[in-house]
């Protein structure tokens, strides 16, 4: 019934606490999911390891022309980072849609990912961006593409002793752009019925040379859909390409009927939203 709370200052100490836990332990970043789940009796951890005091988890630094983002940096801090906003507006589109201003004052992209929700708003744009997570555990550090972390609703590929330290977003070629859009019945404070992240690069003539498309809330995990990317690569992202993209997005969906949307509806909206998000990414790419 009692919960032990620890706030280690170093990665090593955090890993040791998690590795040594004999009863259910939970990592606490912003707490916007964990605390709510505890309050509503969905989880009953006996140990909370607060990782917000660990410097590596709270920094945004330039690295190889890209960015390294601490996994526990709160959303409002990410939104205030001008260079990051300019380089990865789509990732920020996702961050901006998490909860409310108050929630984003605490919530982090590491937490958003590790909560394991297929509807997490920052995850599709991170996957579309090709973000790499740096994970530390007893065995040392490993680098893993974000799409390999969620394994199902509420589940991740992290071991009991592992913590995501940071995310690496690579350098951007010219004429690149990304975007994230979601569909919710309400304007905010809602969970995505479908979310789509698109990241693309154009050549000087406006032809798409690279693309990554990720779909949220349409399967047990966020999907990186190669067929969607293929629909765009080699095209000028014209209507024909967009229709192909929509069809590929709808075809990739493996959704469930639930309180947040029906199967049929999610499949349809995935296509609509893929087109809209691709157009938004295209607009960004053309400006860069």
């Amino acid at each position: 019934m009692d919960v032990r709370y620890e706030a280690p200052q170093t990665l090593e100490a955090a890993v040791a606490l998690l590795a040594g836990a004999t009863a259910p332990a939970k990592i606490l970043a912003g707490g916007t999911d964990v605390i709510v789940q505890m309050e509503t009796d969905l989880i009953e951890p006996s140990l909370l390891v607060d990782i917000k005091k660990i410097p590596e988890l709270r920094q945004i630094t330039a690295e190889n022309g890209g960015f390294r983002i601490g996994a526990a940096v709160p959303g409002m801090e990410l939104m205030a980072h001008k260079a990051l906003n300019k380089a990865w507006p789509g990732v920020l589109d996702g961050v901006k849609l998490i909860g409310s201003i108050q929630v984003r004052g605490r919530a982090s992209i590491g937490g958003n990912l590790c909560n394991g929700s297929p509807a997490a708003d920052s995850v599709p744009p991170l996957i579309a961006a090709g973000a790499i997570a740096r994970i530390i555990g007893l065995k040392g550090t490993r680098e893993v593409p974000v799409e390999q972390i969620p394994t199902g609703p509420g589940k991740t590929s992290l071991a009991k002793d592992e913590i995501i330290v940071s995310f690496f977003l690579p350098a951007r070629p010219p004429h690149s752009g990304d975007a994230y859009q979601r569909f919710t019945p309400r304007t905010e404070m809602d969970i995505a019925v479908v979310g789509v992240g698109v990241n693309l690069t154009l050549d000087n003539g406006g032809t798409c040379t690279a693309a990554r498309v990720a779909l949220g809330a349409v399967a047990p995990t966020v999907l990186l859909v190669k067929e969607c990317a293929d629909a765009l690569i080699g095209t000028k992202v014209d209507n024909a390409a967009l229709e192909k993209l929509a069809a590929a997005a709808s075809a990739a969906c493996r959704p469930i009927d639930d309180k947040r949307g029906t199967k049929e509806y999610r499949i349809k909206i995935a296509g609509v939203l893929a087109k809209r998000t691709a157009l938004a990414a295209l607009e960004v790419a053309r400006k860069n």
Binding site: M1, T40, P185, R186, E188, K259, G261, E264
Partner: protein, 762 residues
């Protein structure tokens, strides 16, 4: 029959009277506490030795409770009391009290997911939660039924073996249909024969939660000799007291209820939930017990309003005259009767001067939480259909929908379907104001659709008490009983100040406990500012009579020789003598030398409520690829009779419309195949957030109700009545097909769009 109270016979309404305070918008005296967080709500009471109460709830929608073993829970350290059905007096099933006690704590059966089956009082919340897990309940799970139409089928699972349909001759089989109620007037067959155009449509609406931000919270404290104090968030302290007295078998004089501040009720706090449980826990533990419900509990086990199915048929002539109207209505009520569904056939067409009407209504039990009141109980659900048919008829005969309503509008002297004859009413004036308002005169923006709908509510009076005390410095305190759910304290203080000719800042009102005043009916039906205003005005007039007597005593003249004007007692004429006018403060300063304190008190069964009418105008845009509806512009036009506090009246108009927008667009209970609610949180029960609604514009129409001293009608119910209909009508204009089912959520709207396209050849 006792003689009616003089103020009910003659209110003294004077349309030419120049008002100083009534009609302005002073800051609420309780406002600062609300915005600073100082105000004490249901869960804000703390008593020494107080325990935490927690409720064990049924995980099954329908199950026989074979046994409950509380022994292990009782043994857990820190647990001070565990109760279940055995701790409540046995009361016959099927009676009003029998239903009430069974809803508070399940007896023979659990009848919905979330139905209380046991409760614990412990020294901490974590101990109480651990104790709940130690209670062993043996259930025999039964087939359940959620939908009211399915519940009416002959092979449906039966909730109560004893139930026979009221209003059906020879009904001798167990059924889920509580009552069949027929209400009509004239000859509908003849009426439809006269019609040139007839429209008949079917509609359905879903149960909607009142959505108050404050979950129910209470603290019960009891003494060894059986006295009970209850602090709780309630719209009905006296009703709670009397019902608790009935189900717990305790005299009313031994139950003292103090209402807390109200963090939203909207009808949902007119019936109790945790209160009897907290009392029984406190009696067993001999310590105060607090129970504060969680949002999950609020959704699974309190409210909502009835969902409905309706079939509505209306006919009219080419000139717009409605010749007949017919309706068949089904209301779900949860596992027990109490939906107040008879409001619907009484109010659904009332506003149109119809002669031929036939309605048949059914109330049906099913395995969902018992419904509770909500603004204009059971009326918005059916007006959703009626006003759809009205607009369709208007368009069919090529008439402006507001003109169509004007053509049929009821006026003074119309005899309603429920027997009352309308006094002066403002429906015509409301429709005219709507036609003239900027919104209706502006063209519909490209790509959008515009809808209108009208609504009516009776407005209510009823048993009410109140006291006005004049302090030694001439300032005034009011003791009020009917719960302040929406700012009635300031409105009533304003009326007292107006009567007494003093600034409203010199008046303060407190909310009484149930020992301090006689019975007050529930705050509901838009009755409080009207009824409590009436008793406080009456109290003020009594105090004025006394003030004049005291002035007469001071001057040594006859009381008849003194008049009261603008806060002063004055000689009635020159022949009385030359005396300087005496202010209330001057007279009050001398009460020790005269006859002691000056006060006024009044109690009456208030009559003379003036019916209210409104018309809503809404513009919507629809995303044709996703079915998402965006409310672009919204105007509420409504007759307030007289707006006592203008800002509060506007707030009522806006609040009603906003709740209606939620009901219209996204609010919905999702039940799994197991009969359990799947979305018991604000995250997934999609009430609108601030950014979902535009500014709601308001037009206050004032056609006075002469039965009230200042002409007021109620304004709490009407603003939600036409909302869903107006939005559906607007969507219909936008996408070419008028939705007939709530909520008008994106998947449903997209399907309507796609089906409509397919039907019209893409």
């Amino acid at each position: 029959m006792a003689q009616a109270h003089p103020i009910l016979e003659n209110s003294g309404f004077n349309p030419d009277k120049k008002l100083k305070i009534v009609g302005s918008s002073p800051i609420k005296h309780d406002g600062l506490d609300k915005v600073t967080g100082r105000a004490k709500f249901g869960a804000d009471m703390f008593l020494p030795g107080m325990l935490v109460g927690k409720i064990l709830r049924s995980p099954h929608a329908h199950a026989i409770i074979k046994s409950i073993d509380i022994s292990a829970a009782e043994k857990l350290p820190g647990v001070k009391a565990v109760i279940c059905r055995d701790d409540f007096p046995e009361i016959k099933a099927g009676s009003a009290d029998g239903d009430m006690t069974r809803n508070a704590m399940a007896r023979e059966k659990a009848l919905y997911d979330g139905h209380p089956v046991a409760a614990v009082a412990a020294t901490s919340e974590s101990v109480a939660k651990a104790a709940l897990k130690l209670i062993k309940v043996e259930y025999e799970v039964l087939p359940h039924v959620i939908d009211p139409v399915e519940a009416m089928q002959p092979d449906a699972p039966i909730l109560h073996d004893y139930l026979r349909t009221k209003g059906v001759k020879g009904a001798d089989k167990p059924t889920n249909v509580v009552e069949r109620y027929e209400l009509g007037m004239g000859d509908v067959e003849a009426g439809f024969k006269e019609a040139d155009v007839i429209v008949e449509r079917e509609f359905d609406t879903k149960p909607m939660h009142q959505g108050y931000i404050e979950p129910q919270g209470c603290v019960a404290a009891t003494t060894e000799d059986g006295q009970i104090e209850l602090w709780c968030s309630t719209q009905a302290p006296w009703v709670y007291r009397d019902r608790l007295s009935n189900i717990l078998k305790i005299e009313t004089a031994k139950i003292r209820i103090q209402q807390s501040e109200m963090g939203g009720g909207f009808g949902g706090k007119t019936g109790f939930y945790p209160e009897p449980i907290a009392i029984q826990l406190s009696r067993k533990a001999k310590r105060p017990v607090k129970i504060a419900l969680t949002r999950n509990e609020v959704f699974r086990a309190t409210g909502p309003v009835s969902g409905t199915k309706s079939r509505i048929k209306i006919g009219c002539k080419k000139d717009g005259t409605i010749t007949a109207a017919e309706a068949e209505l089904i209301f779900q009520t949860g596992p027990f009767t109490g939906s107040a569904f008879t409001n619907a056939p009484q109010a659904m067409f009332t506003r149109y001067a119809l002669k031929n009407v036939k309605t048949v209504s059914y109330e049906v039990v099913s395995n969902r939480p018992k419904v509770n009141s909500f603004r204009a109980p059971c009326v918005p659900q059916v007006v959703f259909g009626v006003e759809g048919v009205i607009e369709e008829l208007a368009r069919k005969i090529g008439m402006d929908p507001i003109d169509f309503r004007l053509k049929n509008a009821a006026t003074e002297g119309y005899k309603t379907i429920y027997g009352d004859v309308f006094g002066p009413i403002g429906f015509v004036e409301t429709l005219q104001a709507a036609k003239k308002c900027d919104h209706y005169k502006s063209p519909v923006p490209a790509g959008q659709g515009r809808g209108t709908a009208a609504g009516f509510w009776f407005n209510r009076g009823g048993e009410t008490t109140g006291t006005l005390n004049i302090g030694i410095d001439g300032s005034v305190t009011l003791i009020l009983g009917t719960t302040d759910v929406a700012g009635s304290r300031i409105s009533i203080s304003m009326m007292a100040a107006e009567e007494l000719g003093i600034p409203v800042d010199k008046v303060r009102a407190v909310m009484a406990d149930t020992h301090s005043l006689g019975f007050n009916r529930v705050t509901a039906g838009s009755r409080t500012t009207f009824s409590t205003g009436m008793v406080i005005i009456d109290s003020a007039r009594k105090a004025i009579t006394e003030l004049c007597k005291r002035a007469a005593g001071i001057w040594g003249v006859s009381p008849d020789a003194v008049t009261f004007e603008d806060g002063f007692c004055k000689p009635a004429g020159a022949n009385v003598g030359s005396f300087e006018p005496l202010s209330i403060a001057q007279i009050a300063a001398k009460t020790m030398a005269t006859h002691g304190a000056i006060a006024g008190h009044s109690e009456m069964n208030v009559t003379g409520a003036g019916p209210g009418f409104g018309l809503h105008i809404v513009d919507v845009a629809v995303d044709k690829e996703t079915g998402r509806v965006d409310i672009k512009r919204y105007t509420v036009v409504e007759d307030a009779g007289k707006a006592i506090h203008r800002l509060q009246v506007e707030g009522q108009f806006q609040g009603g419309a906003v709740q209606g927008i939620g009901w219209a667009l996204n609010e919905e209970y999702c039940y799994g195949k197991d009969g359990r609610m799947e979305n018991p949180s604000f995250l997934d029960y999609r009430m609108p957030v601030a950014s979902d609604v535009p500014m709601i514009d308001t037009e206050i129409v004032e056609v006075p109700n002469p039965r009230h001293p200042y002409g007021l009608r109620g304004v709490g119910e009407v603003p939600v009545v036409p909302t869903m209909a107006a939005i559906a009508n607007a969507i219909g204009q936008c996408i070419g097909v008028r939705p007939q089912s709530l909520p008008m959520s994106p998947p449903k709207i997209l399907k309507l769009i796609d089906d409509h396209k397919a039907k019209n050849g893409g």
